[in-house]
């Protein structure tokens, strides 16, 4: 996306659940285990796909985040499976 000029950390991607409120980053992927009941498919359909820009809006009681232009609320267990490469020195 041309509108993004972010510096990315070289660290390994972090789960969305570990990010603080206000943190921004980019979706790297979804860690789906064998027992997944298609939640990965549902997340992809909602736009949580590699390269999508995210911003954490709230972390309690559920995780609320903006993914591209969609505001999504997910339970913590799901937030743990969404891998994010955080932007350095943002805000």
């Amino acid at each position: 996306m041309s509108s993004m000029r972010l510096a990315f950390s070289s660290d390994a991607p972090a789960p969305l659940s570990s990010l603080a409120e206000g943190a921004t980053g980019m979706v790297v992927g979804i860690r789906s285990d064998q027992a997944s009941h298609g939640y990965a498919d549902r997340l992809i359909a909602l736009g949580v796909t590699p390269g999508a820009r995210v911003q954490v809006l709230q972390t309690f009681p559920g995780v609320v985040f903006l993914c591209d232009q969609t505001e999504l609320a997910v339970e913590r267990a799901i937030a743990r499976t969404i891998l994010i490469r955080t932007a350095e020195a943002q805000r």
Binding site: D41, P50, P61, E75
Partner: protein, 588 residues
């Protein structure tokens, strides 16, 4: 656009055009604009859960327009409403697809476009809500998008009717989109991502401060909980006090009590020589003095005030935000936060809400939600009666009822989650933007619902009253009262006449509620009796319409099973409550 269909063509069937798109992008608004037919429009995903068809003139041709439930995907894990859309769109009867998209969110829309393209049908892409996108600093190059996809792309502000004539014109130019075939969802995502980057510009400037501040405040616990309490209190004031006390007081005491009923009795006494017919019309169980009085004077005002307030909440985008708070509690009952939608809708009408359970992820969740709706969620008329009767007694009475009902729902839900086989789905919910409701839509929607109430409920009230009249004539009411005595008078400690009200409550929940209301107004119920009777009524079997809907959605066996769970739960809870309240010497 080479193979554009001719505008005028003789056909065996009218051209069938399906409106498809993500949830909450405005398909129903476009449908209404094209066909002139109103279908309920709200600001949350899952308002439309069934296919609606209407006629529209396009050019010189009459077309069938089909409104469908919103879909995020057409393959992989789908909910029941998504499957309904897939079947409707993929079938041979659909000739043309209009994809309605949220202009802000074309990246997601394009992922769906890629799936729709696989159906090989001519398409038009309608970018709706370009005004909101603009306010949030998002600009989409429609011409570039049309060039890339090789289909007409139209910009709309459907709620204001802007772009609709362009959409009609574009239908004649519909073409098969040029989208490379993608074997997998992630490949589609990459394609959508790249195309979006080419046609969309996002600036950091946003003009939607107020909405964004409200959106934040409603979902944070610190501000969200006080807001929820304020909303509930406003609901109580508007529906419970203004609707159930002021308006009902005027309608029942003044309009019907002083004017209509005396006039009807006066006329009947003079014009009708047969005592039987007179009694049928204006007697104790008269269709005018009881049936019409109940339905028009007691229930209509509360239903109208409720639907107004409820429509406001629906259109503001507030309701889905409650899901964030409810998720953990709902997990205890084998559900996730998303179930807050059918539960809150149940406060309007449990029958409609039973249909809305289609948006839930798994069959187990649907079953539990249907069971809990039938068990514990009072419909609008019942809720208003509860507020009207108990609000007049004391806050403690009201709190007792809600505590008992919620406690029972938690208990039954917890048990059901453990007994029933299957899983719950993960909580993933899209939050709609907060919007100031459009008065036009609010009034239209309330009007539609009030008409629906008048058309559906009033006849049943009259039939119910006629039935009571017949039962009374043949002495069957005394038999019912006698048969119910051990339970009604013995276990529940209620007056004998409550038996017939509970029976009528099955015909329609609000009919029973109105009966209790009349009883309480005449001072025939003590505080404790009111609480017990209303608790039993709230928990008791759903009305016939709700039962039929459960059967339609889940089959006869499940429907009967649900009723056979609910009935003993309701009676034993009422009995237990009656015992405890008396043992503690509570008076309210």
């Amino acid at each position: 656009m080479a193979n554009a269909p001719a505008v005028l063509k003789l056909r065996a069937h009218p051209l069938r055009i399906a409106l498809v798109g993500q949830p909450n992008v405005g398909k129903s608004v476009v449908f209404g604009r094209l066909t002139g037919r109103y279908v309920t429009v709200s600001n949350y995903p899952g308002t439309t859960v069934a296919v609606t068809q209407g006629r529209a003139m396009v050019g010189a041709e009459v077309c069938d327009i089909v409104d469908t439930p919103g879909v995020n995907t057409l393959d992989g894990a789908m909910s029941e409403d998504e499957r309904i859309t897939r079947d409707a769109v993929a079938g041979p009867r659909t000739d043309l697809i209009v994809q309605v998209a949220d202009a802000r969110n074309i990246r997601r829309a394009l992922m769906l476009t890629a799936q729709l393209a696989q159906l090989g049908k001519p398409m038009v892409l309608a970018l709706n809500m370009v005004d909101e996108a603009f306010a949030r600093g998002i600009a989409v190059d429609a011409a570039a998008l049309a060039e890339a996809l090789q289909i007409p792309v139209v910009e709309l502000v459907a709620v204001e009717g802007r772009g609709l004539s362009e959409l009609r014109d574009a239908l004649a130019l519909a073409a098969r989109p040029h989208v490379p075939a993608h074997p997998h969802a992630s490949a589609r995502a990459v394609w959508a991502h790249d195309l979006t980057a080419r046609v969309r510009r996002v600036s950091t400037l946003s003009l939607a401060y107020v909405q964004e501040t409200l959106a934040r405040a409603t979902r944070r616990p610190v501000t969200g909980v006080p807001i929820l309490i304020a909303v509930l209190y406003a609901l109580y004031l508007f529906v419970g006090v203004f609707g159930a006390q002021t308006l009902v007081g005027f309608m029942e005491k003044d309009l019907f009590g002083r004017l209509i009923n005396p006039a009807a009795i006066w006329t009947a006494d003079r014009l009708i020589p047969f005592a039987l017919v007179r009694d049928f019309l204006v007697g104790e169980y008269g269709v005018i003095t009881m049936g019409l009085t109940y339905s028009i004077a007691i229930v209509l005002p509360v239903v109208t005030t409720f639907f107004l307030m409820f429509g406001f909440l629906e259109d503001s985008g507030y309701i889905p935000r409650l899901a964030i708070f409810c998720d953990r509690i709902f997990r205890v009952m084998g559900l996730n936060g998303k179930a807050v939608l059918p539960m809150v809708l149940g406060l309007g009408c449990d029958t409609m809400a039973t249909m809305t359970t289609r948006i839930l992820g798994t069959p187990k969740e649907r079953l539990i939600a249907i069971l809990l709706l039938a068990l514990g969620i009072p419909c609008s008329a019942q809720l208003a009666t509860i507020l009207g009767i108990l609000g007049g007694i004391s806050f403690a009475a009201l709190a007792t009822l809600f505590a008992v009902v919620i406690g029972q729902m938690l208990l039954v839900g917890w048990l059901a989650a453990r007994i029933l086989k299957g899983d719950r789905s993960e909580f993933i919910l899209e939050l709609p933007p907060i919007r100031w409701p459009r008065i036009r839509n609010l009034i239209r929607k309330t009007q539609l619902r009030v008409w629906w109430y008048l058309g559906e409920a009033v006849p049943l009230f009259l039939i119910g009253t006629a039935l009571l009249f017949v039962l009374d004539r043949f002495g069957a009411l005394t038999i019912i009262a006698a048969a119910g005595r051990p339970i009604v008078t013995g276990l529940l400690g209620l007056p004998e006449s409550t038996a017939q009200i509970l029976v009528m409550g099955f015909l329609r929940r609000d009919y029973g509620a109105a009966g209790l209301f009349a009883l309480a107004r005449n001072g025939q119920l003590t505080g404790v009796q009111s609480v017990v009777a209303l608790t039993v009524m709230t928990l008791f079997v759903p009305c016939v319409a709700n039962f039929l809907m459960m059967v339609r959605e889940r089959g006869l066996r499940t429907g009967l099973a649900i009723v056979s769970v609910i009935t003993p739960v309701a009676i034993f809870t009422g009995a237990g409550l009656n015992y405890v309240l008396h043992a503690l010497g509570v008076q309210f």
